[in-house]
Each structure stands twice: as C-alpha cells, then as structure tokens.
Amino acid sequence: MDIHSYEKIWLVLAVLLIAGFVSTVTYGATAVGVQMIDDDGGTINANALDEDPRFSNPRVEQVGENHYAAYVVAQQFIFRPDPITVPANSTVTFYVTSPDVIHGFEVVGTNANTMVVPGQVSKLTVNVDEPAEYGILCNEYCGSGHHTMEGKLIVKPESEYAQGGSTDRLRHSNPVRRASGTGSPTRRLSSGQLS
C-alpha cells in the first residue's frame, strides 16, 4: 500500500491524540482518584425512610478522625438537612436518597453531582478544603416546585464547627436564603406544605 509521508504524519498524530485522551483519563482515575458514582450505596425502602437510622434524622455525623457522613434526603421540593454543614479540610461522604421521585443532587459549580433515585442510596465522597458556601440544587425535573428546590452546603472553619456547628439542625431548618434571589414566595409555600 502506498501511503504518502504526510498521511503517515497525521495517522500517527491521530493515534497519539487517542493515546493522550486515554492516558489523561487514566491519570485522573489513578493519581487524582476520580471515581464514578455507582450502586455502592445500596438499596433502601423508599416508603420507610423514617425507619432507617440514617435517614429518619437526616444529619451530618462524624464517622472517622477527619471523615464525616452526611445523610441527606432529597424530596419534593427540599433537601434535608438544610444547610448541610461540614468542617473545612475534611472528607465528606454524602448518602443521598429520595422518598418520592427522582431528584438530582448537585453541589453547584463542582463535580459533586449525582442522580437521586427512590429506593437507591447515592453515595459520593469528596474532600473539602477551604471554608466556603456552596449551593445545592436538584437537576432532575421533580415536579411543580422543581425550580425552587435548592439547599446549601456550608464548609465551616474547623474551630467554628467544633463549637456545635453540626447540631443546629432546627435552627437552620428554615434558613435565610441570601444567595437566592428568585422564587422566594413559591419556596416558602412549598417548604411550608411539607413541614
């Protein structure tokens, strides 16, 4: 077969490009440790979340020296707990499930993003660094109040967190939503319907 020398150049370049794509993704999966969210979280009876010790009282719990578990219920049209408060420079594993329909759990502007399926626990672990406030939103259409379904993830400095930042669920159960300028009347209505 007669292949022109220029053609050989771009054949080689194309193969190199593919090898480069594969190797960067491999680098991400090994050196950086990027993982896919799978069915590790297991299944759950979506009609009986109240009977599950993890989700009957959605909360953040310390499970290791610097490891926290956040048990989150995504339901029409709120996330519980809200806000989710975790300390800075820690590892957080989110367990998210839904009692009603499919929701999304997206920490806005980050790669922490999963589907929340009734009957299934979505499990995702992230490292949080600096103190920050993130929005959380539902990115699967879940009903008439979908557009108002949002929560907050607050990364507190370790010192503040140690002073009881994780236990004030009741105080935060109806937080001031400074960050959101939209839909507040609807939000109050939909939150009220559920409480």
Binding site: G33, V34, Q35, T93, G109, T110, N111, A112, T125, N127
Partner: protein
C-alpha cells in the same frame, strides 16, 4: 484554449499538500490545547471532585 496550457504530471510522492498539513497541525494543536484546558482546568480544577 485549455489545450494550450502546459500540463505537468507529478507522481504520488512528489505532491506535497503543505497547506493541508499545516491546517491539520493547527487543528491538532487546537484539539490538544482544548483537551488540556477541559480536563485539567475545567474538570480536575472544579473541586469538589468525587473520589469515592
């Protein structure tokens, strides 16, 4: 008229499509640059990243 124009025949290896080569190299560099930006800056730099 066309009959009077000189016709030069060249072989397969004598024809060097330099413009095409340059275009492909430019496309290649754009692709590589965009991939590096997309993966390392937009994706890996977009903390929080799922690690488990």
């Amino acid at each position: 008229m066309t009959d009077e124009q000189p016709v030069r025949e060249i072989g397969h290896d004598e024809f060097d499509p330099n413009g095409t080569l340059a275009l492909i190299l430019i496309y290649f560099l754009i692709l590589v640059g965009m991939w590096i930006f997309m993966y390392f800056v937009e994706f890996l730099g977009n903390e929080l990243t799922v690690i488990g």
